[in-house]
C-alpha cells in the first residue's frame, strides 16, 4: 500500500485530496502511468512528484508504505 496526496488542480481532477492504493513495487514513472489510466487527463497537467517529502525524478523506486504527493508548480506572484 502507498498513500497518495493530490495538490491544487490535481485534487480537482481526481476529485479527492488523498487515497491509499495497493502497491508492491515500481517506479514513479509506473505510478504516473497508473494515474493517467485512472484519471484521464492526468498527464495533461503539470506537477512534480514528492516521495516522503522529497522531490524525485521519474526513475525513483516507490516502496510500500511510501507517501507520494503530486504538486503542481506555482507561478503566481
Amino acid at each position: 500500500m502507498i498513500q497518495l496526496y493530490y495538490f491544487a488542480q490535481i485534487k480537482e481532477l481526481t476529485q479527492k485530496k488523498e487515497e491509499t492504493i495497493l502497491w508492491s513495487e515500481g517506479t514513479v514513472a509506473e505510478l504516473i502511468k497508473w494515474a493517467d489510466e485512472t484519471y484521464p487527463g492526468f498527464t495533461d497537467y503539470s506537477w512534480q512528484v514528492a516521495v516522503n517529502e522529497e522531490y524525485v525524478l521519474e526513475t525513483e523506486e516507490i516502496n510500500p508504505g511510501d507517501i507520494v504527493a503530486f504538486i503542481p508548480p506555482v507561478s503566481g506572484g
Binding site: 522531490y55 504538486i71 506572484g77
Partner: protein
C-alpha cells in the same frame, strides 16, 4: 533616528551588525505586483540601503486587494507601479535609495541587476522570468529567493548554492498551462505569507546566516492549514544547462525568450512563446473553459475573449492579441492568462 531599528537589532540573529549589513545592501525586486510590493514594504522598513524595483505595469484598481503599497489614487492616475512604490517607500523610510526600472524584466536587464545587487527577490508572475533570474543568479553568483502564490497557497525556496538543485532542475520544461491568479484567484494572506518568508531569507543571507536559509521548498496553504517542506536534493541534474557540468545559461540567450511584436496600425500584438514551451489548441480551450471566458475553436485557432481583447492561439503555438497596441500590456495579459 538613533533607535529607529532598536527592536529589530534586539533580535539576536540580526543585532547591530546585521542592521549595518542591511543598510549597506542592495536588493533587486523583480516585479512589483503582490509579492514585490509586500517585500518592498518589509525591506524598506527594515532599512535596506538600496532597492532596485523593476516592473512594467501600471497600478490598477483590481491590484489593490493584495498589493500593499498602492492606493486608489495610484490606480486612478495609472501610476507605474515602480513609481507608486518608490513614493510610498520614501514616506516610510526616506533613507532608502530606490532605483526604479519601468520596463519588462528581460535577460539583459536581469543580468545587469545581478551584477549590481547582493541578492534578488522574485516578485514575478511567470516561470519564464524565473528561469532568467535563475540563470543570471548562477552566472553572477548571487542568490535569489523564489516565491509564488496562487489561491491560498504559498511556495518559497532560496536558491543560493551551486551544489544544490537549481530552479531549472525542478522545472526542466515550462508547463504549457498552470493555475494563475487570473484563473483561480489569490487572497492577500497568501501574498503576505509568501513575502514574509522571502524577506526572512533576505535577512538571513545578508546577516551571513546561510545555515538557516531554506534548504527545502516550503509549501503552505493558509486556508487548509497544510504545511509541507519538500527536499529537492534528488532533483539535481548533472546535465542541467544552468547549474550542471556544462553551463549554457539558456534563459540568458536572446533566442530563448518569449518574443513580442506589435503590428503597427493594426491594434494587435504577436507573441511567440519562449523556447521549450508549447501551447496547443487544447491548452487554449482548457484555459478558456477554466476561466469561463467566451471562446471558439476552429481547426486553425482558438479565440478567447478576455478583458476587452481577443486572444487567438494558433495551431503552431503563435498568439495574436487584438485590441491592444502596447507590447507591455500584451505581456501582462499573456502571463495573466498562461502563467
Amino acid at each position: 533616528m538613533n533607535d529607529r531599528f532598536i527592536q529589530q537589532k534586539r533580535f539576536q540573529m540580526l543585532g547591530t551588525e546585521g542592521q549595518q549589513r542591511l543598510q549597506e545592501a542592495c536588493v533587486t525586486i523583480i516585479g512589483c505586483g503582490a509579492l514585490g510590493s509586500a517585500a518592498a514594504d518589509i525591506l524598506a522598513r527594515a532599512g535596506i540601503g538600496t532597492l532596485i524595483l523593476v516592473d512594467r505595469d501600471y497600478v490598477e484598481i483590481s491590484n489593490l486587494h493584495r498589493q500593499t503599497l498602492y492606493t486608489e489614487q495610484d490606480a486612478n492616475e495609472m501610476i507605474p507601479k515602480v513609481e507608486a512604490a518608490k513614493r510610498r517607500i520614501n514616506q516610510v523610510n526616506q533613507h532608502v535609495q530606490v532605483k526604479t526600472v519601468f520596463d519588462h524584466a528581460d535577460a539583459e536587464l536581469i543580468e545587469q541587476f545581478a551584477k549590481r545587487s547582493d541578492i534578488m527577490v522574485d516578485g514575478t508572475d511567470n516561470f519564464e522570468t524565473r528561469l532568467i533570474v535563475n540563470d543570471a543568479s548562477l552566472k553572477h553568483q548571487i542568490p535569489w529567493i523564489y516565491g509564488a502564490c496562487v489561491g491560498s497557497t504559498s511556495v518559497v525556496k532560496s536558491f543560493y548554492s551551486d551544489s544544490s538543485a537549481c530552479f531549472r532542475c525542478l522545472l526542466p520544461a515550462l508547463p504549457a498551462t498552470n493555475d494563475t491568479c487570473a484563473t483561480v484567484g489569490v487572497i492577500a494572506p497568501a501574498v503576505y505569507m509568501t513575502a514574509a518568508f522571502q524577506c526572512a531569507e533576505v535577512f538571513k543571507y545578508l546577516c551571513g546566516d546561510k545555515d538557516n536559509m531554506k534548504k527545502k521548498l516550503v509549501w503552505l496553504d493558509v486556508w487548509t492549514n497544510q504545511q509541507h517542506q519538500f527536499g529537492i536534493e534528488n532533483m539535481k541534474r548533472s546535465d542541467c544547462p544552468s547549474c550542471g557540468e556544462k553551463r549554457m545559461y539558456p534563459a540568458l540567450q536572446r533566442s530563448a525568450q518569449t518574443k513580442y511584436a506589435s503590428f503597427c496600425g493594426r491594434d494587435s500584438v504577436q507573441i511567440i512563446p519562449a523556447k521549450g514551451r508549447t501551447l496547443t489548441l487544447d491548452d487554449g480551450e482548457n484555459i478558456a473553459k477554466k476561466q469561463r471566458l467566451p471562446s471558439k475553436r476552429t481547426p486553425y485557432f482558438v479565440q478567447i475573449e478576455y478583458g476587452g481583447s481577443r486572444v487567438m492561439i494558433f495551431a503552431n503555438g503563435r498568439i495574436h492579441v487584438h485590441g491592444i497596441q502596447d507590447v507591455n500590456e500584451a505581456k501582462s495579459l499573456y502571463h495573466q492568462l498562461f502563467g
